[in-house]
């Protein structure tokens, strides 16, 4: 059968194959060498001897490989040994504050008697009293808004920032000409759940903001060079912006006693933040040193009085219908803590913040204004002028306390 078809092609194939083999086997080389050595020839053409060129190339390649390995070893040489991380140099600061933009006030409290005003109105009036959002945001700014979206709680439980307040800030930022507005936070509970159930995702999205969930890849480790915080994963989205607006919620915290503006920067960090609690005041101060926001707007529409920061029971909260807007995060907390009946002098992190020059605990020096809505929605706007003495300290403390009673009569 192979006669016709295979004989031709197959035969050739075989010869070709065997020829190929002959050239490559060891024995064939030996045979070849044996044959050639018997021939009397000059050394240059004697295949048994190394040609000079061959000798040179082989020698050169051997030397080259040796030299290259030596170079590589030298380049990647590791002496070993170990040195712990050292915190040194200046503290890292991300300062988003606006300079040279004075306004009529640096500290505004908008407050309403029960059902006197919506959260949106309160937020707007508080920011307007500082000179409006245009004082802080320029056209084309990339704005990042950092509410507290830490917990898997509904708005009524007041563990997260009120979604209406967040939406109002988003709208105002766009009105002031912001190019883009991002709303984000690094949550404690499962983020998707926190963002959705807090209502902030819906409201911020509807207001036109881009709502970003804290994905692992958006954190990058950096050195904060603080007193207790040094190397931590930092949420890049929050620090890669033109303007940052801090929109915390005022609430009780079992360890820090009160949490709002300064403590809200816990959301800048990734990783296992649970170590921070061992020196909570110092870490709050470190974070507030690192993050200097453009504007702080404290949501105190509903405050949590007990079981903070997570709460979970509406009975732990109370409506206070207040929004604080300020450029000073220390002052924001110094006043805000009175809303839950806490005294600023009990909060060590406020003292640290003031000592580090982050702001002042005496909010009365910031030309404070109060915007009070009565039950019918009528607005009174006036400067809060409280004399600077011991009795007045009590009076200042009382201002926050009185908001706690929903039926409180507005001053003036």
């Amino acid at each position: 059968m192979a006669a016709h078809h295979g004989g031709d092609a197959g035969g050739r194939q075989r010869t070709r194959r065997s020829g190929w083999c002959k050239r490559t086997t060891h024995r064939s080389i030996l045979r070849q060498t044996a044959r050639t050595t018997t021939l009397p020839t000059d050394p240059m053409s004697d295949p048994a001897k190394l040609a000079r060129r061959d000798l040179l190339t082989r020698g050169a390649s051997a030397l080259g490989i040796a030299a290259a390995s030596a170079l590589v070893a030298r380049r990647f040489y590791d002496r070993g040994g170990w040195q712990g991380p050292q915190s040194s140099g200046r503290r890292e600061v991300r300062d988003f504050r606006v300079r040279n933009a004075p306004g009529p006030s640096d500290f505004a409290i908008a407050h309403a008697a029960l059902a006197g005003a919506t959260p949106t109105q309160l937020t707007r009036h508080a920011v307007d009293a500082l000179g409006g959002m245009a004082r802080f945001i320029s056209r084309g700014d990339r704005v990042v808004i950092k509410p507290n979206i830490g917990w898997d709680r509904t708005p009524l439980q007041a563990a997260n920032t009120n979604p209406e307040v967040v939406a109002a800030v988003v709208t105002m930022a766009f009105e002031a000409g912001a190019h883009s507005v991002i709303v984000t936070d690094a949550s404690c509970n499962e983020p998707g759940r926190c963002f959705q159930r807090s209502g902030i995702w819906t409201r911020a999205h509807r207001a036109g903001a881009q709502v970003l969930l804290p994905a692992e890849h958006r954190f990058r480790t950096m050195r904060l060079r603080g007193e207790v915080l040094d190397e931590w994963p930092v949420y890049r989205t929050l620090i890669e912006a033109d303007k940052v607006i801090n929109v915390p919620v005022a609430k009780h915290h079992n360890l820090a006693k009160y949490t709002a503006a300064m403590k809200n920067w816990y959301g800048v960090l990734g990783g296992r933040r649970n170590r921070l609690h061992q020196s909570i005041d110092r870490s709050i101060a470190d974070l507030a040193t690192f993050m200097r926001p453009t504007l702080t707007i404290v949501d105190a529409i509903r405050v949590m009085l007990r079981n903070g920061p997570q709460g979970g029971n509406v009975d732990d909260t109370q409506r206070t219908d207040t929004v604080i807007a300020t450029v000073d995060q220390v002052a924001a907390d110094a006043f805000g803590c009175t809303l839950i009946g806490q005294r600023p002098e009990n909060l060590p992190y406020l003292h640290m913040g003031q000592a580090r020059g982050l702001g002042t605990m005496d909010w009365r020096t910031l030309r404070p204004r109060e915007l009070a809505f009565d039950g019918a929605g009528a607005l009174t706007d006036y400067a809060l002028a409280i004399p600077d003495d011991t009795a007045a300290d009590e009076a200042a403390f009382a201002i926050g306390r009185r908001f706690l009673t929903p039926s409180s009569v507005i001053l003036a």
Partner: protein, 655 residues
């Protein structure tokens, strides 16, 4: 010249020419437009039925064809490259033998089957990827899966039958499986050939990586696709599992193909893909170049929005699950669809039903030339070739055999005559008896070891809404839907924590993730009711309406490791994260002496076992990194009447 040499049917002999080498030696000047078609040319006279598959005969048959091949020098201009490509793409290889074309309807059916397989595989993967909570701006405060992501399991008659035998109920949507039974009664095992995503995977890999020692259409393939006795194994397995189910164990879920697909792909393949992608993008963006970082961030956002998970998930001992998947896929290299033929209990269930199917095969044995083309393409190893009886219970109804048959032997018909059909596996009576005995003995053997009634593992924390352990083992089919859907990566396949019997049942490992208090998704996706469908209110309880909460365990302090308890350091992250209201963790304000004698004010945490729900949030967030100072054990779980601490629980008071 060499190209025009006809090729013999490859599996009948090894003679032939090696194209590449011959082409080198004798380059043929004239273009040869249809090498494949000519290669398949065979004598046109029908070959006698008696012709054996001996090589000699084939050679004789081939000889005239070889001698008759002329080299045709043509004066035609060479066709353009595009034209050649087009003819190559559109040309159908000429069929060997009589070359009778398959019926149009069969070709259509075969193509429809391929589409259906691809579609159902994609649907399965889509549902699997979507078996997770993805928040959104449109979502409200109540979180549920928008569609039944566990649909494939709900339509699984093996799962339904097994849990029916163990619980004497058909749980909720498991009645969907009746639809699949009906489908099988009409069309046979179309589920295996047309729908099953795991079967499609095997089909795909059987095609992608054929036997290394024969080619895709070689003799080894034919041998591998003949009906073999090992195919009975799946019937014995099925029997054993069903008997075990009668005695109260749904352990057969370990072998259910849908369960395996969800488990192995959901817990192994998807996290693997996530990991590799994440690490690769990390490596690319590590150079701190802003532009590249933006690009990788954008890529990752897009991937997370579509196929990837928003975070990296880790699963307990999942390498074993992944490894087994790898092995069973690898088996396709030697025996195509080894899993489906030899082991699949769902296939066996459907095989038993398929015996009564309305559609079936008729064969005209006289016309068969033993070309074995049907066997080359057979998926179920169900003897489609002439001379033997077709095995209806093994057939996947893929219609490859009829589409391949060039001799008009195989015909699928409605209500066929059953002359050449065998519908039952003809199990050996003694083996059947032994298998049933093994199934009956399995459970007592497993239970006399110390996992359930004695020395219950303290960390065996079941998902919230789970039924009591015995009922749980009657229901849990280890499908891993709950583990896939868990947003906190809290649920894991148990390895030996609850013995062999509890292999790959869900346990909660709080150190990896805690049970999100407002989440009830695991119960929602559980197809068999091992985890009941509870509401948020049932889970968290409601004091005003006198609804008690569901507890899955109780937290305990390891005071020697706790910072406030033993190191005079303030901490109480556990208390901060405790989700109950009032908090189950309460603190004792106390001044403790520090090392220098200075008093340090700390808050020492305590657990109130009445309020603790065992969610494990405290254990998850405890800063004592390696072995946490607070940990959860299963004691006090609501589902158990024996695994309790307190004399009274709210549960007893209620009734």
């Amino acid at each position: 010249m060499s190209e025009s040499t006809p090729r013999p049917i490859p599996w009948l002999g090894t003679i032939g020419v090696i194209d590449a080498l011959d082409a080198l030696i004798t380059p043929s000047p004239e273009p040869t437009p249809e090498p494949r078609a000519t290669a398949r040319k065979r004598p046109q006279e029908p070959v006698a039925r008696e012709a054996p598959t001996a090589r000699a005969t084939v050679l004789q048959q081939d000889t005239p064809a070889i001698t008759a091949t002329p080299t045709a020098p043509t004066a035609k201009p060479a066709p353009s490259r595009w034209r050649t490509l087009w003819t190559k793409l559109t040309a159908r290889p000429k069929r060997p033998g009589s070359g009778l074309p398959a019926r149009k309807s069969i070709v259509l059916l075969r193509n429809a089957r391929r589409l259906s397989q691809a579609g159902f595989l994609l649907l399965f993967l889509f549902l699997l990827v979507r078996t997770e909570f993805r928040g959104g701006f449109a979502g409200g405060a109540t979180i549920r899966m928008p569609y039944p992501v566990e649909a494939f399991l709900l339509a699984d008659p093996f799962v339904a039958l097994m849990t029916f035998l163990s619980t004497h109920t058909v749980y909720r949507s498991l009645w969907w499986s009746v639809g699949l039974v009906a489908l099988t009664l009409v069309f046979g095992r179309v589920f295996c050939g047309w729908i099953c995503p795991f079967g499609t995977l095997h089909h795909l890999f059987g095609w992608l990586m054929p036997n290394p020692k024969g080619n895709t259409t070689g003799g080894r393939r034919v041998e591998a696709n003949k009906t073999r006795p090992y195919q009975k194994a799946k019937y014995y397995l099925l029997l054993g599992f069903l008997v075990a189910a009668v005695f109260g164990s749904a352990i057969g879920g370990l072998f259910d193909p849908i369960c395996i697909a969800v488990r192995a792909i959901g817990l192994g393949v998807l996290p693997f893909v996530n990991y590799v992608t994440g690490r690769s993008l990390d490596a690319v963006s590590s150079g701190n170049i802003r532009l590249i970082q933006h690009a990788t961030d954008g890529t990752r956002d897009a991937l997370v929005a579509t196929v990837l998970q928003p975070r990296q998930y880790f699963f307990h001992q999942t390498w074993i699950i992944g490894g087994l998947l790898f092995l069973v896929i690898l088996a396709n290299r030697w025996i195509p669809r080894f899993w489906c033929r030899a082991l699949c209990p769902l296939g066996a269930t459907l095989g038993v039903i398929a015996k009564h199917a309305l559609i079936g095969m008729e064969k005209d044995h006289a016309k068969c030339t033993d070309c074995n083309l049907c066997l080359v393409h057979c998926q179920g190893a169900d003897s489609p070739q002439g001379g033997v009886k077709w095995r209806q219970d093994e057939c996947h109804a893929c219609f490859n055999c009829e589409a391949a048959c060039p001799e008009d032997v195989i015909k699928f018909r409605w209500l066929p005559n059953r002359k050449s059909t065998q519908g039952s596996p003809q199990l050996d009576r003694r083996k059947t008896l032994v298998t049933a005995l093994a199934g009956a003995c399995a459970l007592p053997i497993l239970r006399v070891s110390d996992t359930l009634d004695a020395n219950y593992y303290d960390r065996l924390i079941r998902p919230p809404g789970s039924v009591a352990e015995r009922d749980f083992l009657e229901r849990c089919i280890r499908c891993a839907e709950c583990m896939k859907v868990c947003p906190n990566n809290a649920l894991h396949p148990a390895f030996l924590q609850s013995g062999i019997e509890g292999l790959w049942t869900p346990i909660l490992i709080p150190r990896i993730g805690y049970c999100e208090p407002s989440c009830v998704l695991c119960g929602q996706v559980c197809p068999t009711g091992a985890i009941q469908k509870i509401s948020e209110e049932q889970k968290l309880g409601n004091r005003e309406r006198n609804i008690p909460h569901i507890s899955i365990g109780t937290a305990f302090y390891d005071q020697g490791r706790c910072l406030p308890w033993s190191m005079a350091t303030p901490c109480i992250v556990c208390e901060e994260f405790c989700p109950t209201s009032p908090k189950a963790i309460w603190v004792e304000e106390i001044d403790v002496p520090g090392r220098e004698g200075r008093m340090v004010h700390v808050q020492r945490p305590h657990v109130d076992p009445k309020l603790c729900i065992g969610c494990g949030a405290c254990e998850k967030v405890c800063p004592v990194q390696d072995r946490p100072a607070v940990y959860v054990t299963s004691v006090g779980e609501t589902r158990s009447r024996t695994n309790v601490i307190l004399l009274e629980t709210e549960n007893y008071n209620r009734t």
